[in-house]
């Protein structure tokens, strides 16, 4: 017997597997509030109390729970009667997607006092101790500040209840409507459904980087009792598609098959096994015998586009829309405005260099997963963790040759997206299996598969050359980009074009040239990632701008003031200017002033670590700017319906998905404001293709500005109709619905400027952030606490990419396929960031607002690199600025410490080849 939340549970009755852990047992027993972020002990999402002691249930053999008591987050409190810690998380707004929350609440409950405050959490002197206690809990969304507030009993959200009626709350820090359910574990995420009668799928992955499959022997797998089906490339349609999804399916190359007879990276899907239990499916997957005939592979993008390189998609024709399959080039852009050579020749100052970004992963706490079944009326239903339910529906219909009207795609609350769920990655397999078997089929990816199988952020090599006159005004700007898209081209064109767009268009310069290519390699595919290419190229351009400031003798903000676009300017990259991008508002000038003022107050400078006999700390400051369009180009559509019932209850139907970006809250606020009702009276039904009007999806930060605009318009229309009948819903005989749509054009621009003050220890390479400030121009702030959270979360994720995170691949094989090896920032790694708002009103966005969810990521890495440059006197050209890289940088110039032992010095992967070293020191004066 195991007592679970006060009720005895008999393992024999539930049925256990000999190797089962407590986490999956609890879920089998119906405790779906116990989450899985890693299943490996690293993330803490699965924490339960075992006889009162907080325990990672994924590490606990179920036999060890016999005779003991288990308390899950739902056993601590209910939405109506929250535990004090749960109240604290609601009051602080201590979550975004909420997938990590159960683990935090349970861990904190074991530590907290009667008021729900974790001892020490409210004492600034003990921040490090609290971070140590929570080193076993990862949150990818918040950046931890709001979680720290929750642990300390600090409140951030506006109080609700009466008194707010008639003030829907635009501008108020309304808490997420799902808050009480999230903190008590009863908000269902994608796979939080009973599993009775459900079959489970497990995926077999390629062990080869490039190979033809000679044969697949499924007999050993099929012989395992409980196995129902094994799917290989023989069993699925050969239709080519792209996992990357966009409003126009033509944006991405059709280069992928559901299961292919050629594998192009280690980790690619090769077969799928369906069985009665997840354990049997996973076991059977190890029994599928695949014989490969290896093909030559290429891992370096420069080598991949060199004549003679092995071709990844050389067999594909023009219908696949690959730019040059014979050169492994999936997309390219080459163009010039003005005359760059002349601009450089005329320049007084020129600077340049070559910058590189590593491969990083989204690390959403909820892994990808989907369940499919067929409704009695024949509709194929797929419930999946996606940002784009309508785009998944349309492509599934195409792949399965069904009428889209017979396919329904539903997203529940999504446990984190960051772009990674703008892809079709699991839905096709569960759909085909359920159609084959006639029973519901579920696939939940493992954390290791998230790392080895799914798209990551495009690593890029970016070469920049800038010329400027004596005043530091740009005369030439040349950017050359090489993007490694890995084995498939999903999002390769979009990321490349977008990456080169606002980064270059930010600067006014008569002579610009951009050459960019996205290239196939036999690495794990790259895909959509927060910032959509901008972050990589901004890292290079903003580093070069910093170098220019030094050359000219200007401050980092002044060189930008002299060169950034201002209202009246056009947005130019390497061709004709944009036609649908406008300055809906302009707050970049304010952002630059705000960070100047913030840095001037010297915060953190006094906290420079004391020098010792061996440590060798130096100080630095760095700034970088970023611009982003508030909506992706080429169409983004949303249709919303707002319904008022006679009892005053308001329902919003909208297709966009909530994954922690806070759109559910914003939509509620916009509708409540327009209708003059309290937000508590508003209910949201989202992300279901059967109930909502069309929505392109929650990508490109559109949840507020496109879907939100549609909601605001529908609500305003409803208001007008109500006013026509006197304004009081009680006179209505039946509910009234208003519909509106939004088409995402024209588009505005938003701005972010980040500044850091750092100390760098030249003896170890440690970078300590003493102050972090981000000024943002999001125009009207709809929900200050939520916006602050979005910025902090973006900054934290970017600090991860700038200092810690890196997918390490050697000949296509990943050696960082678990959180213990891939350093997602933990609480101790994320310093507080001061978030400052520019004061503008956007003429295009709903209620004067602009989007702000990808953008905060983009200026962080260059600002940090510029600060490290300031401290060390040597410029970094590569992120992450891991301690080993910084340590090596410190050695290149200043000669601190011992010279390298000769055996270790040359040819290390972190070292640049000699020719690029030269290129990276070419800041040269022409006067």
């Amino acid at each position: 017997m195991i007592e679970v939340n006060g009720t005895p549970v008999d393992p024999a009755e539930i049925g256990t597997h000999p190797g089962q852990c407590l986490r999956t047992f609890l879920r089998d027993a119906g405790r779906l509030d116990v989450k899985k972020g890693c299943d490996a002990g690293d993330c803490g999402a699965c924490t339960v109390l075992l006889d009162g002691t907080p325990t990672h249930s994924c590490l606990t053999p179920v036999h060890r729970a016999e005779g003991r008591t288990v308390t899950t987050v739902a056993g601590l409190g209910t939405p109506e009667h929250l535990h004090p810690v749960q109240r604290g998380f609601v009051a602080a707004g201590g979550f975004q997607c909420g997938f990590c929350t159960a683990g935090y609440v349970v861990t904190a409950a074991a530590l907290a006092d009667a008021d729900g405050v974790v001892p020490g959490a409210d004492d600034p002197a003990r921040e490090a101790d609290v971070a140590r206690l929570f080193k076993g809990n990862l949150c990818r969304c918040t950046g931890y500040r709001s979680i720290r507030d929750a642990l300390a009993g600090r409140s951030n959200v506006a109080p609700d209840g009466p008194g707010c009626a008639g003030h829907g709350g635009v501008g108020r820090s309304l808490g997420a409507p799902a808050g009480p359910r999230i903190v008590s574990g009863c908000e269902p995420f994608t796979l939080d459904l009973p599993t009775t009668g459900v079959l489970h799928m497990s995926v077999v992955q390629s062990t080869e980087a490039h190979a033809r499959i000679v044969s697949i022997d499924t007999s050993r797998a099929e012989a395992l009792p409980g196995v129902r089906l094994v799917l290989t490339h023989h069993d699925v349609p050969g239709t080519l598609f792209s996992t990357g999804r966009h409003q126009s399916r033509l944006d991405d190359p059709d280069d992928t098959r559901m299961l292919d007879d050629v594998v192009r990276y280690v980790g690619q899907r090769v077969a799928a096994v369906v069985a009665d239990s997840p354990q049997t499916a996973a076991h059977a997957a190890t029994l599928v015998d695949v014989v490969y005939a290896p093909l030559p592979a290429v891992f370096d993008p420069e080598a991949a586009r060199t004549p003679g390189a092995p071709l990844l998609h050389g067999d594909k024709g023009p219908e696949s829309r690959i730019s040059e399959p014979a050169r492994n080039v999936v997309a390219q852009s080459h163009g010039e405005v003005g005359d760059v050579d002349a601009g450089l020749a005329a320049a007084v100052h020129t600077v340049g260099g070559t910058w590189r970004t590593a491969r990083v992963t989204h690390a959403q706490l909820e892994t990808h997963g989907a369940r499919a079944w067929v409704d009695p009326d024949g509709t194929l239903v797929v419930r999946t963790s996606t940002q784009v339910p309508f785009l998944i529906r349309d492509e599934l219909a195409r792949l399965l040759e069904r009428d889209p009207a017979t396919v329904r795609v539903v997203a529940a609350r999504v446990g984190g997206g960051f772009g990674g769920k703008q892809e079709l990655l699991v839905e096709d397999l569960v759909a085909i299996a359920t159609l084959r078997l006639g029973a519901p089929v579920q696939l939940e990816l493992t954390r290791a598969q998230q790392f080895t199988m799914l798209p990551c952020r495009h690593p890029m090599r970016v070469r920049v050359r800038l010329g400027a006159d004596a005043d530091g005004v740009l005369t030439a700007m040349a950017v050359d980009v090489l993007s490694d898209t890995g084995a498939y081209g999903n999002h390769a064109p979009g990321v490349m074009f977008h990456g080169c767009h606002e980064s270059v268009a930010l600067y006014r310069c008569a002579n610009k040239r951009v050459d960019a290519e996205a290239v196939y390699t036999n690495n794990v595919p790259s895909g959509a990632f927060r910032g959509y290419g901008l972050g990589q190229i901004i890292f290079a351009i903003e580093s070069a701008m910093d170098e220019l400031a030094r050359e000219v003798g200007l401050s980092a903000t002044e060189v930008r003031r002299r060169n950034v676009v201002v209202p009246g300017d056009e947005f130019v990259v390497n061709g004709a200017p944009d036609t649908d991008l406008v300055f809906g508002s302009y707050g970049l000038d304010q952002c630059l002033d705000l960070v100047d003022a913030a840095l001037a107050d010297g915060r953190g400078a006094a906290a420079v670590p004391a020098p010792s006999a061996t440590s060798d700390w130096v100080l630095g400051e760095g700034v970088a700017a970023a611009m982003i369009a508030t909506i992706p180009p080429r169409g983004h559509h949303s249709e919303a319906a707002v319904t008022m019932a006679p009892d005053g209850q308001v329902t919003i139907d909208v297709g966009t998905a909530e994954f922690g970006n806070g759109t559910a809250t914003v939509h509620t606020q916009l509708a409540a404001d327009a209708l003059g009702v309290a937000p508590e009276r508003v209910r949201l039904r989202a992300s279901d293709t059967a109930t909502a009007g069309y929505d392109t999806g929650a990508y490109g930060s559109t949840g507020s500005v496109v879907a939100g605009a549609a909601v605001a318009r529908a609500a305003a229309d409803l208001r007008a109709r109500l006013d026509a009948v006197g304004g009081d819903p009680s006179v209505l005989e039946s509910p009234v619905t208003a519909r509106a749509s939004s088409d995402g054009s024209p588009r505005s621009v938003a701005f972010n400027v980040h500044a850091f003050r750092v100390a760098v220890d030249r003896s170890t390479g440690e970078v300590r952030i003493l102050d972090s400030v981000q000024a943002v121009d999001a125009a009207v702030v709809l929900n200050p606490e939520q916006l602050r959270g979005q910025v902090e979360g973006g900054v934290a994720q970017a600090i991860g990419g700038a200092l810690y995170e890196e997918l390490v691949l050697t000949d296509g094989v990943l050696s960082t396929a678990a959180f213990r090896d891939y350093r997602v920032p933990q609480m101790a790694d994320v310093p507080p960031t001061r978030v400052l708002f520019a004061d503008t009103y956007d003429t295009l966005g709903p209620a004067g607002a602009k989007s702000m969810s990808e953008a905060p990521y983009n200026p962080v890495a260059p600002a940090l690199a510029n600060a490290v440059r300031d401290a060390l006197g040597v410029r970094p050209h590569e992120i992450p600025l891991s301690r080993d890289r910084v340590w090596r940088l410190a050695r290149t110039d200043t000669g601190v410490g011992q010279p390298l032992p000769p055996a270790l010095a040359p040819g290390h992967p972190g070292e640049l080849p000699v020719d690029e070293k030269d290129e990276n020191h070419d800041a040269d004066d022409h006067d």
């Binding site: 490996a40 002990g41 325990t55 140590r132 810690y804 301690r883 270790l904 992967p909």
Partner: protein, 292 residues
Amino acid sequence: MDLVELTGVRVARTRDDLRLAPGEAFLGGGSWLYSTPQPGLRGLVDLTGLGWAPTEPLAAPEGDGGLRIAGTCTVAQLVAAAAGWPGADPRRTSAAALVRDCAEAFLMSFKVWEVATVGGNVCLGLPAGAMISLTSALGATAELWGPDGERRVAVTDLVVDAERTDRRTDEVVRALDVPAAALTARYAFRKVALSPIGRSSAVVVGRLDVDGPTPGACTVVVTAATRRPVPLRFPALPTPVELAAAVAAIDCWYDDPHGPADWRAGVTPVLAAEVLAELAGGAGVSGPGAAA
């Protein structure tokens, strides 16, 4: 995670239960076994059923005043036991602080301390094995129980390479025995990782004996940065130059995603110099800020 190929778990109650069938392995805390797929693993033999005392005084005569740490002692149990040492014997203050520092050096949080065992950590032989750092610095000897008898091996000899030990699969780590002099020695601890409190990239523990057979002797043990624990022994506190020379002679720097070998070789001397300065300064107790 679920160990999908497992067909059974046995809870060992007696020494006879420790004979492994093909495909079986011992289960300590399970914090590593259940954290990653275990291809080919058919059965587990749970050691916690043996009821070994987590820590106990070493039997006299040769062990007089020493400490026996059971293979099944959890990190949390060891931390709790050590917290009581200074009260019982102030000379053990520094050793107690070392236990705490080593536990904190783990990537795992206090929640995993509750299950992870000292024996399991030593058996894994990971360079970042903080209990390897600890027991190496304490000069502990492992008692191994095999089907054909017992043997004793110093921890620094048991761990032979990254993730490789001299233990045969059918041998149980019964205990790690710590001599008395180790408990009264003075220690200094330094660690560095690629993130502030991340998985260790280099750990250096300095030890200065106060009593026992070699008072005044100094040992500097390098772990995490090296493929195996490297004890550098000196008859007395070395000079900075002597220590630097000894560190420079190390030939087994480790390279993995937690740090390339050149950097580890570069920062280890920095940590070693700090450790030496602290031991020479006489402060003697490694402070909470030590884990930079």
